[in-house]
């Protein structure tokens, strides 16, 4: 089975900011079919409005278009299975936000590593790829 990577909201800022070459490598490997990349709609939303707050809505729309047209990044809607698992995770870990919990739940279900900028996620899931920024 190909390696699967679930991209957190901060991943895209790392990529667009050029702060960690591993983000570029993940995109390259996804584009050439060497790995499968996923992003939750929830995390994409998080990225977009935070990005818009810094760069403006038009710039955020441009980035959204770049991400959406990258067919090798599969966008995932929230499912009931993810929602239930996220609820269990959040119940057990009071230091996690809802977005963190959804990310961990989806990663469990997909058997994916998480590419994140959030060190809390790395503590909970040590196989996560902690990106520099």
């Amino acid at each position: 089975m190909k390696q699967r990577v679930l991209l957190d909201a901060g991943f895209f800022s790392v990529h667009f900011g050029g702060t960690d070459e591993r983000a570029k490598k993940i995109v390259e490997n996804a584009a050439t079919g060497k790995l499968e990349a996923y992003v939750l709609h929830l995390n994409l939303t998080e990225f977009l409005y935070n990005y818009a707050a810094e760069f403006g809505w038009e710039a955020a729309r441009t980035k959204h278009s770049l991400i959406s047209s990258s067919i090798f990044i599969k966008q995932l809607a929230t499912t009931e299975e993810i929602a239930l698992k996220a609820a269990q995770i959040k119940l057990r870990n009071t230091s996690l936000s809802l977005a963190d919990s959804y990310l961990l739940a989806a990663a469990d279900i997909l058997h994916a590593r998480i590419a994140t900028t959030n060190s809390t996620l790395k503590e909970v899931r040590p196989d996560s790829i902690l990106l520099k920024f």
């Binding site: 800022s13 990529h15 584009a31 990005y51 047209s69 009071t94 977005a99 959030n118």
Partner: protein
Amino acid sequence: MVTIMDWEVKVHDKGLIVLPAELRRELRIRRGSILEAQREGNTIVLRPKPSLLESYGSDGKPRAAKVIRRIHEERRGEVEAEGAP
């Protein structure tokens, strides 16, 4: 000066065409790249759209870091608010 080069490509089933490897390499067109097609009379112009791959580092580090800090602060704020009496 713009260099004009010509290639011949064959149209396959469902309109599929294969761009020559040399052209793909020079224009950095890869699997998953999006091209914009424009018709000008009997001519078709294909333009590579900027891709996610090529946009690495396009924003600059300081502002990208600011966006990431915003995301983290928001998540932290949510957790702290839940813990508040």
